[in-house]
Symmetry: C2
Subunit: 122 residues, 2 copies
DNA sequence: AAAGTTATTATAATCATTCTAAAGTAATTT
DNA sequence: AAATTACTTTAGAATGATTATAATAACTTT
């Protein structure tokens, strides 16, 4: 546990959301001004491997990183582009049963209107 | 419909699979030697917009393009890395019902052992 | 056939991410 | 506590997929 890693964990805990490495870099700089982008990438990659952080990948855009430790899905709003969390209970097990093979991991990204945009429409 | 676009469609029809833009470029070159990468990207982007082709995006790897017009899911093998198709019937409607909002599109990528690797293990 | 639109080409640019090598820090052994 | 080893960070360059730009070519419409 280095100071740099602690700074990254701190800013991700205090600012919950789906951030790009660049956004995390800018936040971590306030905690630890001399930190460098490669350190952000190294730590985020490690954290993804350790299962502390999830990676959300969209074509043509930088990866986003999500601290939420509970398995959950992501909605990308077709109106405003926001990334929203949603949880489908027991999805991994249901999926394993359906395909007849143990799912080790999965990513489900749903494109629909986010809850804010649905509210505003009414 | 240009000759270049026809060449791209032809090689994707004759070589069914999940190809990177680079792989499609190399195949299309055999049909139309003067074709250029930008044309491949332009056409693939258009085809994705038109719904003729699906884009599969994995972090750290180039996007892959998949001609299969039926909605389907992708398995990425945790042993050999191959991309395999799988179809979950009526998944989009089931998903819409579950989240209480009309799903416009979705991507489901499953990490587990592909059917070849499961066979070979036995 | 001229004018206008759209696609292709060649090339350069972008930008997220990784690599390399050196220096620093932490952990472990003596 | 000093010495050795392993790991992390840093700075900066490199990579590589993809897009932008500007010029040319190929269709379409009048």
């Amino acid at each position: 546990m280095t100071r740099q890693r602690a700074a990254i964990i701190k800013v991700m805990r205090e600012n919950c959301g789906h951030f790009t490495a660049e956004e995390i870099f800018l936040m971590a700089q306030k905690e630890y001004p001399s930190i460098v982008r490669a350190t952000i990438y190294n730590n985020l990659n490690n954290m993804v491997e350790e299962g502390l952080v999830r990676r959300i990948c969209q074509s043509g855009q930088p990866d986003r990183f999500d601290r939420n430790p509970m398995p959950h899905e992501h909605i990308i709003c077709t109106l405003c582009g926001a990334v929203e969390d949603i949880s489908l209970s027991d999805f991994k097990n249901r999926l394993s049963a359906e395909i007849g093979c143990e799912v080790e991991d999965y990513e489900l990204v749903i494109h629909c209107k986010c809850s804010d945009c649905r509210k505003n429409k009414n």
